[in-house]
Amino acid sequence: MSDALHRPRSYRPGEWYAVLAPSFVVAVAPSASSRVAGLWELVDGGASADDVLDALVSAGLRQVAGFVLVSESDGLTRAIVRGDVTCSLTTAAETVELEGAAATTWVERSLPGVEAVSVRVVAAADPHESEAVDLVIGEGLVRVARLDDPPRAAQPTATQPPPHLPPPPAGPPPTSPPPTSPPPTSPPPTGPPPTSPPPSSPPPSSPPAAPAPVEPSPMDDASDTARTAAPSPGHDHDGLTRSGSWDAAAFAGPPGIPGQAFAPDVVATPVAVLHFSHGESVEVDRLVLVGRAPEARRFTASEQPRLVTVTSPHHEISSTHLEIRPGSGADHGTAVVTDLGSTNGTVLVQPGLPSEALQPGIPVQLIPGALLDLGDGVSIQVMNP
């Protein structure tokens, strides 16, 4: 899931539930909240947009007062809109507005070459609209009032190079016509937004900080796009938010499974106890190496492995035969065995499973009760600690 943020979109917090998948977005009205978990499960399981649509309307259309489904495949963008929500699809040539309230069933439209998608929930005038913040999200489940793809903050820099990129701060502000020409994604002739203060505005590097407060209605498209063009510092709620394109490196964490601690080589509590056939018992709280004359290689001072020497009069057991270590990631909390390329191999019998010969170098998770046979009558019983 490392590319979960690969396709960023921006959203504004609100009432609707939006599920964002790599290739499509589905949002449902708050009244259908009971369906949301199911939708997420579908999407997380890799379902297609059509599967999701099936699931949405399976219980009858009347059960879903409002939803919007925007999907993209082969360059064709399809939007299905129902209820109090509008969706605008912007191509290079035009902007198509779809209003769900205009139909009793739903409104559907497919367009090629769509550059930007914006979904807005039609709601009673929101007093906090002026302070609303556009947040960036990759895939996931969020409650939204509007959704934009590509993200609003990134739009100016991402989609339109020359005319809009502000010259270095030295540029004289007053002579330039309207400092915030609408981005090319919206039809130019709509004219300069009346709300943006042209000549008295600060230098273009920090464009109109104030259009939002004077904006008459949240649905006024012209001023909306004008604001899109101006990721203003006024929206910076914590002083750390960076507008413009983001830096993926900021999200680069250590390798491993997100949300799960990287398993240390030495764990605090043993994950298993090994009972050897010669009577010895060894706890697996670190790497355990088992063999006729085991050797440990390249470890650090704080993570010295445990070496268990077993006798092998017939030399059926290799000098360093196998290793057992606390598992990491999906194997967290269990012991994992790996045959280290032993000459005669290792047989593993797990409870309820047929016996298997370990493949050299391939780790296998050990279930409590598992029995490892190394040859020469040496076996290891794996038990809970």
Binding site: T300, A301, T309
Partner: protein
């Protein structure tokens, strides 16, 4: 700890090119060290000497054989502090901002693990630890060098590594800006009847086959160390060459039960075979 008898030999040579010997070694059973200093006069030779002094103190004062890796790590930390302090003093005394003093280190000492004596080996830098078992030489330590990282990454082969222009660039050493962590190795004694610690003035001048050949024909570890160093100098001696050879004496060889041979001898006894 069970008494283990060790025989050892050590030799060091300035080589044919360098003016001073920045290598240093310690042979104080059961602790053995080779350190290859870097930084020129009053730099590298002091750094490598600091490592030898600190490990001599460890050998002198004794250490807990069950906590060998921790003892070595602590000693490395002390070496690092002393080398840093020495560098500060030198720069304060006007040695210039470019003054640098550092050293590699390879250490072998006897420890106890699961009640058995074992070799604990530690490595920082591109000095090497080899073991010689059953007539074959095998490098145990893994160099902390640019070329080794290239080899590990598959960018060059081991054969290329010997001629790579950056083969002398180490990636870990004592005296660097950041504290470094050594690699440790734990070997049962029979797996390393003969150990060789050497600086890159040996391993860079003669290849492993030649080192192995010398070790195979030289029973006495003192002669073996002398001959390995002499061969490195004879091969060009472009760097200080140092070797320490340690033999574990009195190990009962672990002969496998050989049913095949037994049957043959029975047949021979019965006269079935000539």
């Amino acid at each position: 700890m069970k008494q283990v008898e060790l025989h050892h030999g050590a030799a060091s040579d300035v080589g044919r090119v360098r003016e001073i010997n920045e290598d240093a070694f310690l042979a104080a059973p059961p602790v053995f060290v080779v350190a290859d200093g870097m930084g020129g006069h009053d730099g590298g030779d002091v750094a490598s000497q600091i490592v030898v002094e600190e490990f001599a103190r460890l050998a002198d004062q004794g250490y807990d054989p069950a906590r060998g890796a921790e003892e070595v790590a602590r000693t490395f930390d002390e070496c690092q502090r002393r080398i840093e302090r020495f560098g500060l003093e030198q720069r304060a005394a006007g040695a210039g901002a470019s003054f640098h003093s550092g050293t590699t280190a390879v250490v072998a000492l006897l420890v106890e693990e699961s009640g058995q004596p074992k070799w604990l080996l530690a490595n920082l830098g591109d000095s090497r630890i080899y073991r010689f078992v059953e007539g074959a030489l095998e490098q145990v330590s893994v160099d902390h060098s640019v070329v080794q990282e290239l080899v590990d990454a598959g960018a060059i082969t081991e054969a290329d590594a010997a001629h790579h222009p950056e083969r002398h660039v180490v990636t870990r050493a004592l005296g660097g800006l950041d504290p470094v962590e050594a690699d440790y190795f734990l070997l049962p004694l029979p797996a390393a009847e003969r150990l060789v610690l050497c600086s890159d003035g040996v391993s860079g001048m003669i290849d492993d086959l030649e080192i192995g050949a010398i070790l195979a024909r030289t029973a006495d570890p003192r002669d073996a160390a002398d001959q390995v160093v002499a061969a490195a100098v004879a091969a060009g001696g472009r760097d200080n060459a140092t070797a320490v050879v340690i033999d574990v004496v009195g190990l009962a060889p672990d002969h496998p039960y050989d049913s095949e041979r037994q049957r043959e001898s029975l047949e021979q006894k019965l006269g079935a075979l000539p």
